[in-house]
Symmetry: C2
Subunit: 208 residues, 2 copies
């Protein structure tokens, strides 16, 4: 077995974090960083795009592991009572928010990845990673427990909304700062998560 694929994955991960725009990442820079040649990217991964996808997948798995561990902690903490709704929401959206603010986290890999997914002409390459790895379904039973009057579909819709708010925070920080007159400190992950939870919780409250 060659160890070049592994070195390419590592190089890709490292370079994606250093880079401001994803098209500063070239096969030639990648190859140099991994001590190999441009053609080995195509050889081992099929294309540069697929290498980036594989890199993102690896990072996604770590992010999701953190989500799950927060979820389990929330469940443990409250056991045998049902977990707090606030904790479940924070487990869902917290890691993304936190990673996006930690300067040395690998979050840049994910934001480059999602921006590539949007502009790709081969959405099928990305779909499995976006829909499969982020298996939000693990959260479903706990939301159902806390809001049994909502169907699975209704809960899924509210999770989508929560994730949309999360993305707005991680993606358009400067725009948010303008809209909120700089009164929210968007560099304080804890505060931001709290604000998101505060806005999402009412979506799961019993109506009327």
């Amino acid at each position: 077995m060659s160890q070049t694929p592994g070195r390419l994955l590592d190089a890709c991960e490292a370079l994606l974090c250093e880079v401001d725009s994803v098209d500063e990442l070239t096969v030639r820079r990648l190859a140099a960083h991994a001590h190999t040649t441009p053609s080995s990217v195509s050889y081992h991964f099929g294309s540069q795009e697929q290498l980036i996808i594989a890199t993102a997948e690896r990072v996604y798995k770590r992010l999701n592991a953190e989500r799950l561990s927060l979820l389990n902690a929330a469940v443990q903490k409250a056991s045998p009572n049902p977990p707090r709704l606030e904790d479940i929401i924070a487990a869902l959206i917290g890691p993304s928010v936190r990673w996006s603010l930690e300067p040395n986290s690998k979050y840049r890999v994910l934001s480059h990845f999602t921006s590539m997914a949007q502009r790709s002409r081969e959405p099928d390459l990305y779909r499995p990673v976006i829909e499969g790895i982020e298996h939000h379904r693990v959260f479903m039973p706990y939301f159902r427990l806390l809001a049994p009057w909502l169907s699975e579909a209704e809960i899924g819709w509210r999770m989508s909304c929560a994730l949309g708010i999360r993305s707005q925070v991680t993606r358009s920080r400067s725009r948010n700062e303008v809209l909120t007159d700089h009164t929210i400190d968007f560099s304080d992950a804890g505060q931001v998560i709290e604000r998101i939870v505060e806005v999402v919780v009412p979506m799961f409250r019993r109506p009327g």
Copy 2:
């Protein structure tokens, strides 16, 4: 005055709508469509990127005009009473949702634009368009009227959240369909807008 810049803007708008990925849009294709040569793009706009930004700006203005006209309609309809909260929210997020679903609208220009803004190494080129043209501040007084217990910053934060949910719908349709078990018809703009309004309204209700 030359009429080439105008033809380039038109060509860029048309091609951005036809294209799946923004890097299918090349200066050579642009030039051919506008009956000119590749170098005229750089000559008139500085770069291909700036041409795309100018194109998006033009489309953004139309989208915002539609928002404002919906806002005014909502105000007129209720006058002299304050407008309905639901109508204000629908005016804010409705046009994007509707455009993103109309096959012949120019929404593709905007989604290509935002995905470019994310991956650009010159964010300053995009900032004025993103923060300036979308002058959401017009909505502020009406929200304040309807939720006087919220500060401007609090309202701005909730508007951000609403826009985030809107983006989630216009961007990740397939992911939403999976999460909601295909029980929401994301191709029905009216229904989608209604669902968003339904989730956003509680954010503006008096706490407690």
